[in-house]
Symmetry: C2
Amino acid sequence: MSTEKLPTRSENFSEWYNQVIQRAEMADYAPVRGCMVVRPYGWALWENIQQALDKRFKATGHVNAAFPLFIPMSFLEKEKQHVEGFSPELAVVTIGGGEKLEEPLVVRPTSETIIGYMYSKWIKSYRDLPVLINQWGNVVRWEMRTRLFLRTLEFYWQEGHTAHATAEEAVEETVRMLNVYTDFAINEAAVPVIPGKKSETEKFAGAVDSYTIEAMMGDTRALQAGTSHFLGQNFARAFEIQYLDPNNSLQYCWTTSWGLSTRFIGAIIMTHGDDQGLILPPRLAPIQIVVVPIYKNDQEQSKVFAAVQQVEKQLSAWRFKVDLRTEVTPGFKFNDWELRGVPLRIEIGPKDVDHGVVTLARRHLPGKAGKSTLPVDQLSIQIGNVLDEIQAALLERATHFRDEHIFDPNNYEELKEVVQNGWAFSWWCGSAECEARVKEDTKATTRCMPLDQPEGKGTCIVCGKPAQRKVYFARAY
Amino acid sequence: MSTEKLPTRSENFSEWYNQVIQRAEMADYAPVRGCMVVRPYGWALWENIQQALDKRFKATGHVNAAFPLFIPMSFLEKEKQHVEGFSPELAVVTIGGGEKLEEPLVVRPTSETIIGYMYSKWIKSYRDLPVLINQWGNVVRWEMRTRLFLRTLEFYWQEGHTAHATAEEAVEETVRMLNVYTDFAINEAAVPVIPGKKSETEKFAGAVDSYTIEAMMGDTRALQAGTSHFLGQNFARAFEIQYLDPNNSLQYCWTTSWGLSTRFIGAIIMTHGDDQGLILPPRLAPIQIVVVPIYKNDQEQSKVFAAVQQVEKQLSAWRFKVDLRTEVTPGFKFNDWELRGVPLRIEIGPKDVDHGVVTLARRHLPGKAGKSTLPVDQLSIQIGNVLDEIQAALLERATHFRDEHIFDPNNYEELKEVVQNGWAFSWWCGSAECEARVKEDTKATTRCMPLDQPEGKGTCIVCGKPAQRKVYFARAY
């Protein structure tokens, strides 16, 4: 760990973000431009995210599979909007086994096309539907401006791809998976996202409707943290995904796709972190509890270590680590684990041992505010509750911060002001012109039209025409 | 499921293999030459393999991480033997974001080079050692002759990469991971592998010593099912992976790498399968038990379904499926699940219900031999034992088959004969010339010098010179 102080979030949020990731050993820059290495601590967080999502996918009837990394260039060209959206971002393999390839292969930026091709082979009858498949993997998009986790050339994600007999079922699936993401974000990551629909301008290349969960970061900018798309019959027609209905008549399927990526790690960092470093939600933290023994001499050490052993036995149900390093002081260890965002620290010194207690320090409440003592023999009974309280406190804090920074401006002038330090929640006529004007004037874009809409109607905050829906405007990552 | 009969293993093993994989919906050919799609049933098997291995990796102190898919071409060139070994097999990205790249990027065929580069950044002091990192991911090798699971352009695997302060520790790690693979293969997959050392000719490009687990397939050919490499200081010198020792003097690290891939699925299929289809070992099978209700009319149906519900409650600790399809007969279902290799079938008919029993049918013992009845209320107590017995029986059968097909020929003429239908276990002088002669005469290669060597010395089966070690010669996949 570097001993230099982190930049504060208020003085340079972006630099704070970059440094905290590298110092906490979450990720590092790779020697290939725009690529990252996810280090073990970061990957352990991703594995916990994967487990929490995968459990939910399986509970809603999905199975996992693996489709190829390489897609023939001609496949992308079959869906017009899709290829227009992705062609500037492609990595292309032109040489294989020392020979120039007849048809270049695209490194998948997303897999609708190749999965569509396979579905057209597999799906014959209405009895084969729905097909509910998810894939965990890596994809590549040739981005010019990259940032660790948020936007990298290669990233890790899951992409769900489903095929249905009717439009209704496909829309239902799209919204179901949006709800799965919302539930995951709120209840596992303590990130209070807002689920909603994207505008026509902001939707996925090839979708009929795109849905998103939008999160507010610590600098009030918005982050699209997961998306779910209703693809209509666009890909089914491009790849001839057809089935025989019960009347023996050939029909096109209706498809969906939905994805959440390592970008979400960026959301966790920027939602909860503080000037001391990361703060990880207990349910996802690779290390939930760190135990730091404190002693000055051999006598104290043997006394404290005996207590540590007792404590270890009581922590077996949690992800914990005992920091036995001798080359650094307890104070160094405190800073180190605070930087890494371990939600709960247990300190054990000779006085604690004398009183049969341990000292708890809650990461999100620095200093005395987060400290308390607990009888050693209560640990296994109480520690789950303490972690639950921390989880709840993180969600409450993030929700409070978000709600404090969502504004309802009275007019366009006010909108331009509030989006400099928050989100505007405003009536919008739905026109791309009004969206474009806001973007030009403020850099803010429409983030989503929340599923949960207020009653009534209003007038567009930009042009004053009648508006059916409210939308969030915000500067975004 | 196709109703056409599978080719038998004895008439066409290779065609049996291809068809059983596709009919059981384990995998399918992708529209890109040499690539495969791993379908949900195959991927569920891989997920179980991953869990069984990952648990062992973590128990031996390893952590997971993720390194980039793309490697600068110049990195591969830093280790001479490595680039010679891999350059004919590379897929190369030459275009990114619409522009020709200044330096082409290789799609990783294996990650020693890029991981070596990162280790040289991360490792400073002896306190940072050992570094014990594993990666689960995809790699690409441009193979000309491909076969589902066994050899595909893209495949899935784990690759462990470790760095140590001393040669002894690195060798110890290499052998430790070979033992982990052996333990996994035997105790989870019921594949009785032989762990041993590769010859100089057969070792990994860039290794000092390569170790392997070799398995015998149902046609007696050998399959290299996992490898573990002692890399010496080859990659440490190429990438300057150095550390300060306790005397503050700069030293090169000693590194290892080890991998096991989706190829292992091929090993499971070809070890256990029979003319009816797959036979999956219970510990790894995606579906351990299938329940097939049998009834002729509504009255029987309601009686049988009530019993099925009771059975379901007792099976909650296992991976099971109840086949409720109405459009096919029980006989069709039996064949279908036999093709898919589900190790245990539970049949419930009206007579079973009358007697308070269920009928068990063990996949590896077709017909009456594998059938027995069990009182319904004994299911949750007994079913674990039944699955354990099946697991043990598969291992015993495969071991017996292997041992029956390992020969100790008396002379070179006999060797040439026995390797047509088995392995030869013979003294070998160690020379590449003798290896090459066997290969030319018989297509058999040296598979490994087992760790467990017989006492004494002998004379080379090929040239008659003194020999220190026995080696397995076999035709291999």
